[in-house]
Subunit: 298 residues, 2 copies
């Protein structure tokens, strides 16, 4: 068997970034943390942590930390039977990847419902979709909300429903760029926002609504709320989750550029096949919260 | 001299991710793009682009693209003298790093003011402070808003003022965890939010306000607005920019856990020393927008 107290010390250093803070989290001295980490490294004949500011795991270190997360998850279900509480530093942490637009809309309700029911920490990573499948495979995250349906071995994928987007701009932007209404020509030339280079929502909408290709300036804003704030400030037009812009549209702070044209992006929950109550509760909370906001979900 | 039309093709492929979209952006055929890129690679005897989905620059490719950004920036100032407009694909793009809390508060006003004055695109990267200095040094970004004052060669650093933070929680969270008011003991054990492992705001506040170390569960939420939404949903307590929570405090959706205790984080603008009007206008817009929101700025 692996030496789990030592592995817990490795995981604490990775999570906290320094040996001192890991020691505080575990309720032991820094030299005890250092001894455990070094001891495990010597027995395995491999470095697990690159010492630095902050300390980073090696690839093997990361794999072992992911393994520890899973063992803790399975142990969590035993706790009532064993009648013992988790010691300090033994708190269950679920690493989860979430795409930006979900975190900005329906996911907080799921996280809060989970937090009220299960005594565990959530370690959220903003999903870079390009890496989600790899992160799930390596065990770096236990579940992910994604906008791309990628089958991952050892995981099941649930369809959550679709997030619906509206094309919006601020009234002053509309006055400057669409003085004669939103025409194909004006739209093609107007400054447009893009989240990142995988964001084709604006292009899809322009194609569907006006049959045109966009040729105007692009501003890149890789944050869902930043994207909205830039639209409100009049930097460009862009597509936003309907739920986020509804109050701004109602208050006249934003203008809907084409109420008859919406873009829908299906979302998925891909979760490790581990029979563990905390994961099941999280999946339940995700499904319930998604159902309230997404369209056409299960 | 470098072959700039070919370098522009390389930059377009890097920005757009594929040869096809780069061709559309440049208004030439994909095979012309491919020829230019290959030609430059052959003459330099080095690969500039790793072909893939998406295409990524090699280190040399990234360095050359950064160089092109600077040449375009200098050229932009010549345009009126030369009396010519930029061709397709020659639009000036300013790559800028911004820290998350600035993007969520005062930065959109700066970007919008800049966008109205200068015909250039902003390519915003969410600042990972650990990499900002390296990104500035390599020329990958031309300027950065950071929370760490790091002198960078070839750049000047302006103090913008401090962002002020308040410790908040939702009323239902307060009722569950602080039924007898916010005491040192209850605070030490209550679930707390952290942005990432470099986020010590909660720990600083708890130390200053109650002289305690936090020992309760931590949820990790690496998004400024996600952090606020999780607090509103009752997952944990945390520190927020005062400007963001003010309406929620006024409406009773959040409770201020210690109005007499604020944490202030100084912010800096580090910008490449290049005499180019667009950078100067951006610096002006940044200073004006920051002055309206940050405390103690210049």
């Amino acid at each position: 068997m692996l030496d789990y107290p030592s592995l817990a010390a490795v995981a604490a250093v990775v999570r906290e970034g320094t040996f001192e803070r890991a020691a505080a989290a575990l309720g032991i001295t820094p030299s005890a943390v250092s001894q455990r980490v070094r001891g495990l490294e010597e027995r395995l004949g491999a470095i697990l942590i690159v010492r630095g500011q902050p300390c980073e795991p090696t690839e093997l270190g990361r794999t072992l930390c992911a393994h520890l997360d899973r063992v803790r998850l399975l142990e969590h279900d035993l706790a009532p039977a064993l009648g013992r509480a988790a010691g300090p530093g033994e708190r269950l942490t679920l690493p989860i990847a979430v795409n930006s637009d979900s975190l900005a809309t329906w996911f907080p309700a799921a996280a809060a419902a989970f937090g009220r029911r299960v005594d565990a920490s959530l370690d959220l990573a903003l999903d870079d979709e390009a890496y989600t499948a790899a992160r799930l495979r390596s065990g770096e995250v236990l579940a992910a909300v994604t906008a791309e349906r990628e089958p991952v071995q050892g995981c099941r994928t649930l369809t959550l429903g679709a997030l619906r987007y509206a094309a919006c701009a601020s009234p002053d932007f509309v006055a400057r760029h669409f003085p004669r209404g939103v025409t194909a020509e004006a739209l093609a030339a107007a400054p447009c926002l893009r989240f990142d280079r995988r964001d084709f929502l604006q292009a899809r909408w322009a194609k569907a609504a006006f049959g045109i290709d966009l040729a105007g300036p692009v501003h890149w804003v890789p944050s869902t709320h930043g994207f909205l704030d830039m639209t409100l400030a009049g930097l460009g037009w862009g597509l936003h989750p309907c739920g986020m812009v509804q109050p701004h549209l109602a208050a006249g702070r934003l203008v809907d550029l084409g109420p008859e044209h919406r873009v829908e992006v299906p979302l998925y929950w891909t979760v490790t096949r581990l029979h563990a109550a905390p994961l099941r509760h999280l999946t339940d909370a995700v499904r319930i919260a998604a159902r309230g906001v997404l369209v056409g979900g299960g």
